[in-house]
């Protein structure tokens, strides 16, 4: 695999070249620190180095630098994940060696559902975990959990979800005809819940009164759709594609058609982990951001699909995962659609994403009272770390941490969250 021939920062042709470059950087830094410039030009680089090496432990300095910011506090880690394609960077970093390259021995553990992953992470059985991006916000605010300061240093994926309906509803494509439908979403605190509510509300249905929304773990959704227990779901992939593969459902809309570029899942860790083990946290975050950067490149998608489909990870037929990642997929109605950005991977945790999520939590009554939107967003979505590490792995981080976007044509200004909540006709707040 060409992965192993390139270097850990992605800027050099090989690891050897990367190391040589790094060593040279350290040498220069030391020289600059201890030798006067005029002396340096007088002596020449190598002579000066030899002189410095006599009293400065240059070898140790180089080694310390190669290990990143410092020594890893903990090398063996457990990271929990839910078997869905959103977790691609977290999962693929294991079989494709991203963790190992950053000196970590990570065990990625498949987990049954979001409530379990939350409890196992709060219990410290897991050092960090794959979560839905609203979860760290909810945990921090103590909504549906004991309040524990939580952080979300990286988004996993953008887009990549869909509304799937049972095949018997082939003719009922207009949401206005969905009164009485039973829908499943993976969790109450999920983008899926907020996007589905948003979508039906924009079509004039009240998500609490006109339809029923229940939380069902992704793994159980297709089985429930097949049994006619539910009429449809807004679910992460590969669940949607699997419903098509098994002939029980069809893809009504992709989530990118609701909000192009929306965040979905996230890499999350407790504030305690981030502050007590800074080096481990950085190595872990860097592995995941590097994996996301690799997954971002379209030409790598087939290779990734083959790496994460086996029973140890997603446990799905390769073709299902491949259709999700490549965006060339069967829609369940007999058409082959080509949507290359059906799912994409962009680790940057925009503060404005957090603000939008908080507005929806407020809108549907999950949050009571006053919310300091900007402050919570800043504390939970760690954009500074992501900016630095994205640059280190060769991605271009954005200059600002906030951006405006529009969801189904309705513009969102992250500086005016309160007005945004008030502007909706259907709301609980």
């Amino acid at each position: 695999m060409r992965l192993f021939s390139s270097c850990s920062c992605g800027n050099h042709a090989s690891q050897a070249e990367h190391q040589k470059n790094e060593e040279r950087l350290v040498e220069d830094a030391v020289l600059r620190a201890v030798v006067r410039r005029d002396l340096l030009s007088l002596l020449g680089r190598s002579a000066a180095l030899a002189a410095v090496a006599a009293f400065f432990p240059l070898g140790a300095a180089k080694e310390a630098f190669a290990q990143g910011a410092g020594k890893l506090e903990k090398q063996k880690l457990k990271v929990g994940f839910i078997p869905i394609t959103c977790a691609t960077p977290i999962i693929m970093a294991h079989p494709m060696g991203f963790y190992a390259k950053h000196g970590l021995d990570v065990e990625v553990v498949k987990t049954a559902g979001w409530a379990v992953i939350r409890d196992k992470t709060l219990n410290k059985e897991y050092d960090a975990a794959h979560m839905l991006s609203p979860m760290p916000l909810a945990i921090t605010l103590g909504s549906g959990a004991t309040p524990v300061p939580y952080t979300m240093p990286a988004v996993e994926n953008i887009n990549g979800q869909a509304i799937t309906l049972a095949i018997r509803h082939k003719e009922r494509r207009d949401p206005k005809t969905w009164k009485g439908f039973k829908f499943a979403v993976p969790f109450d605190y999920s983008m899926h819940n907020y996007l589905l509510r948003y979508y039906v509300a924009e079509h004039g249905l009240d998500p609490d009164r006109d339809i029923q929304i229940r939380a069902v773990p992704p793994a159980e959704m297709v089985a429930n759709l097949r049994a006619d227990n539910i009429d449809g779901f807004l679910a992460p992939d590969p669940v949607n594609q699997r419903a098509v593969y098994d002939g029980v459902g069809f893809i009504h809309v992709l989530s990118k058609e609701i909000w192009d570029g929306h965040p979905c899942c996230a890499f999350a860790a407790s504030k305690e982990f981030v502050t007590t083990m800074p080096n481990t946290y950085h190595a872990l975050l860097k592995s995941i951001i590097a994996a996301a950067a690799y997954a971002r490149r379209f030409e790598n998608r087939k290779e990734i699909a083959a790496a994460i489909a086996p029973a140890n990870y997603l446990n799905q037929p390769v073709t299902v995962v491949e259709q999700v990642l490549t965006g060339t997929f069967a829609d369940g109605l007999g058409n082959v659609r080509k949507v290359p950005d059906r799912i994409d991977f962009d680790p940057f945790p925009w503060h404005s994403f957090a603000v939008w999520i908080l507005t929806q939590m407020k809108r549907w009554g999950q949050l009571k009272g006053e919310v300091d939107y900007q402050k919570v967003a800043r504390e939970v979505f760690l954009a500074t770390d992501a900016t630095r590490l994205m640059a280190e792995v060769g991605l271009t981080p954005p200059k600002s941490t906030s951006k405006s976007f529009s969801v189904m044509g309705r513009a969102f200004d992250p500086m005016k969250p309160k007005e945004y909540v008030d502007s909706f006709a259907i709301k609980r707040a």
Partner: protein, 278 residues
């Protein structure tokens, strides 16, 4: 002897009828109009002809079973282990939870059985706690014990404790008065009385309680593991549910049945060993 043979033949006949009916019911239906080949390649064989994916045939299950039996102990990472390894995890959890429960239930049962006062005082607690589904304890256990593995063992503990406790108390209370009177006349120490007179007398009833408990524990572990995941046969079934692989789920179900039968057999043997005739 003749009866046994006949019963065996009849059992095989039942099995043959069952598998035959299953085979006929899952025969592939005549193919409808197939979708175009590009689309067909992207979906399952059934979806390509406009149907839902089908229930596996007996032959599918046979192939899967052969696969599992030929390599039951493989280990391809934390989330993919052979069916034998998974069963091992489940049995270990059940035995551990069960033993802990026995350590608590038998002495407590003795105490309750020997003292009518304690019996009356604890009865309301037992009556309320007994009918609670062990899985209802799971969220509470996860929250307080802060470890999913310990929680699973706790759930086994809590579900196997009641039958043992009640049966022990009942067995101890039902020891014949004459025997106790004889022991008193001979001025046997209370400890000796408990071990030499009451325990053997109550043993069959206690063993019955244990047999019921282990049965319940085995039922519960599958559900508990489906809930928390990680390892065990329950996780195996859940993971294959995730993959909608009915053939694998059926293999898991069969394995659960066989191990359950073995456990029950083991305890029926123990029960026979302590049974006495007056």
């Amino acid at each position: 002897m003749r009866l046994r043979l006949l019963a065996g033949v009849l059992s095989l006949l039942f099995l043959a009828v069952l598998v035959g009916a299953w085979h006929l019911a899952t025969l592939p239906k005549g193919a409808a109009a197939a979708a175009d080949s590009e689309y067909a390649k992207l979906v399952g064989a059934q979806a390509a002809v406009g149907a839902k994916s089908a229930f596996p045939t007996p032959a599918d299950l046979g192939r899967k079973l052969a696969e599992h039996v030929s390599d039951p102990f493989y280990d391809r990472g934390p989330n993919d282990k052979g069916i034998g390894v998974q069963l091992g995890y489940s049995v270990a959890r059940v035995l551990l939870g069960f033993l802990l429960a026995a350590l608590v239930a038998v002495p407590c049962g003795f105490l309750i059985g020997m003292s009518p006062l304690v019996y009356r005082a604890l009865d309301p607690f037992i009556q309320v706690l007994k009918p609670i589904s062990p899985l209802a304890w799971m969220p509470l256990a996860l929250f307080t014990l802060k470890d999913s593995n310990v929680s699973a063992i706790f759930v086994i503990f809590i579900c196997s404790i009641w039958p043992m406790l009640i049966n022990t108390a009942f067995g101890v209370a039902a020891v014949r008065r004459e025997w106790l009177n004889v022991a008193s006349t001979l001025e046997v120490s209370p400890l000796r009385k408990a071990l030499v007179v009451i325990l053997p007398a109550a043993a069959p009833t206690i063993m019955t309680g244990m047999r019921i408990s282990i049965g319940i524990a085995w039922l519960v572990i599958v559900a508990a593991e489906m809930l928390v995941g990680g390892t065990g046969i329950g996780y195996f079934v859940w993971n294959e549910w995730n993959n909608l692989s009915i053939a694998n789920i059926l293999s898991g179900i069969l394995a659960i049945g066989l191990v359950g039968m073995l456990l029950d057999f083991l305890f029926s043997r123990l029960q026979r060993a302590v049974t006495y005739t007056e």
